[in-house]
Amino acid sequence: MNFCNSNHASKVIDRQALDNLFGVLRSQSYTLFGPKVSDQAIVYDEIQATDDLPIGWTDEQDAGSYRLKKRDDQALFGYVVGPHSLKKYLFPPAQRLWQVSRDGEQIKLSPEPEDVVKRAFIAIRSCELHAMAIQAQVFTGGEFVDSTYDSRSRNTFTLAVNCGQAGNTCFCTSMNTGPEVTAGFDLALTEILDGARHEFLVEIGTELGAEVLNAVDFRDAEPEDQQTAKEIVNRATGQMGRSVDTTDIKDLLTRNHGNTRWDEVAERCLSCANCTMVCPTCFCSTVEDVTDLSGDNAERWRRWDSCFTMDFSYIAGGNVRTSTKSRYRQWMTHKLATWHDQFGTSGCVGCGRCITWCPVAIDITEEVAAIRRTDVAGATEPLKRGA
């Protein structure tokens, strides 16, 4: 992924050209991954052509609820983000790290081969691009680079899309992560659908993007096209279903460790970990060594884990966060406050997934608002182990 903030030259293409563009990517050995309807939701999966997209579908989301609905048009991108995020491709849910086998006195270690798949990510939203950048910072921005993440993110092509509508659990405007795509893409589309007119404004983000676009038919964008596209994104900005006041949020959460609101949310929280699994920036994992019955073969696996599981906070001597209260507080405080200390940004991009996919509708925006309402300014309680 390349970041390029120059003035993007814009072009206009039609659906046929978009299909051809998918073909160009495929001919350059990219495997395409994008939105697709599956099991009553819009998920990310392998796609071949625009026909595979959720044409004419939209999603109605609320806390703890997601429903697919038919639209009254044939929009290709008329929905927002679903339960999957791109982290499943760059940071796979289960990944073998190496294998080792024993033959008499000989020990043979086989590291996993480097991932060389070229992936083209199709119809990626602004919040998702920001989430990718945040995870890239986590996995590759420090002194120790995660080689598996690094190799997976190196050969990607990103075809982004500006949101023309926002979901009821979206709050990217509060987190400054959308809805307009501003960086981190090769090409970015805005879908213009007006009666019989069905076109896509394309912004070019990188040379690679320009090269791919050059292989299909396009026309230069007129000022009116640009204006229309702007209005489309503005419409999404005006539709945000949720918002968060982020003023002073780091200090707000840090000084509210003792707020009784955490007890209230813990009454409702199932510690099921769904919020962390669907979050596009959550990166916690567990590492397991497995042996076969003979004991001659072993493997090391890395799997998604969560600060909501007991094993995750188990260290020598016991569990450091036994209560659900301490686990929920840890998660939210890390997302919105201590992430800044650790990685220099917020850990939340306002995609709303944790709200929609929480089975009991716990809403991070509501929790922040409640803490703000009951701010125990200055009254910090010393942290107790396991409290």
């Binding site: 409702r268 970990a273 019955l293 998604w304 909501f308 599981t309 094993d311 929609t356 089975p359 009991v360």
Partner: protein, 260 residues
């Protein structure tokens, strides 16, 4: 761990359907490796050859439902270095623990022609209610991969990789769309221990909690949501909680709370 000879394995049966023992026989690819790694010393389901104890590892299937069984399990414990229970019957009393909520005498009088010959306990209880258990493997039936994992861990003296978190984690790792959020289907996954590979949600069904309560289960919050948002009746909440793990304390407690 260093056994001089192959460790001796025994497989015991109490009140159960034999399904968990069959999971061991069902290991197909691994069965020869199991037979190569341990000496199968007592396993009536598989072989008539019986060797006397002590045994290095006993797998115990089934719950305690008769006075005789309540005695027998103590002898097995004495004869076993490690005792691992397998399945919902052995770890929570099984489906037969539904008797715990009713009067067993009434059942025997209806079911049997001569109930006076039936000697049975009022409750079906887990093995751990009677003797010390070294590890409990959940499931109705157990998952054969987990069983092989427990056997490997035992053979090599390490902790088994058997997570106690929710089924949701398995769903999400596999990219399965949540049936409760996307379809309003009541699902016990958020309070149920993983291990089945999220079998039912993978087929768009709610989880039936075959693997029993997960670590730190918040059953009241989940069933409260079912009642208020998914319009599940109190009676149906009780029925959902009273299946294979009806007597597991978190499920039992919540089913009592919803019973009127």
């Amino acid at each position: 761990m260093g056994y001089k000879d192959k460790p001796k394995l025994a497989v015991w049966k109490f009140a159960s359907c034999d399904g968990c023992q069959l999971s061991l026989l069902d290991c197909e690819d691994e069965l020869l490796a199991v037979a190569g790694a341990v000496e199968i010393a007592y396993f009536p389901e598989a072989t008539k050859a019986v060797q006397p104890g002590p045994y290095d590892l006993s797998l115990v299937e089934g719950s305690i439902t008769t006075p005789n069984d309540a005695e027998r399990i103590h002898q097995i414990r004495r004869d076993s270095r490690f005792l691992v229970t397998i399945g919902a019957c052995a770890t929570a009393g099984g489906i037969q623990a539904l008797r715990n909520f009713k009067d067993v005498k009434e059942f025997t009088s209806i079911v049997y022609a001569s109930p006076q010959f039936i000697e049975t306990l009022n409750k079906s209880t887990s093995i751990a209610d009677h003797v010390k258990v070294d590890f409990e493997l959940r499931g109705c039936p157990i998952n054969k991969e987990q069983l092989v994992e427990v056997l490997s861990a035992f053979l090599h003296g390490r902790k088994p990789n058997v997570p106690t978190h929710s089924v949701c984690v398995e769903c999400k790792r596999q990219g399965i769309v949540c049936v409760m959020v996307a379809n309003g289907t009541p699902c016990l996954g958020p309070v149920t221990q993983a291990g089945c590979g999220a079998l039912c949600p993978a087929y768009c069904r709610g989880c039936y909690a075959c693997f029993g309560p997960k670590e730190t289960p918040n059953v009241a919050a989940l069933t409260g949501w079912w009642r208020e948002e998914l319009n599940v009746s109190d009676r149906d909440v009780v029925l959902a909680l009273r299946t294979f793990n009806a007597a597991a304390p978190p499920f039992e407690k919540e089913s009592f709370r919803n019973e009127h």
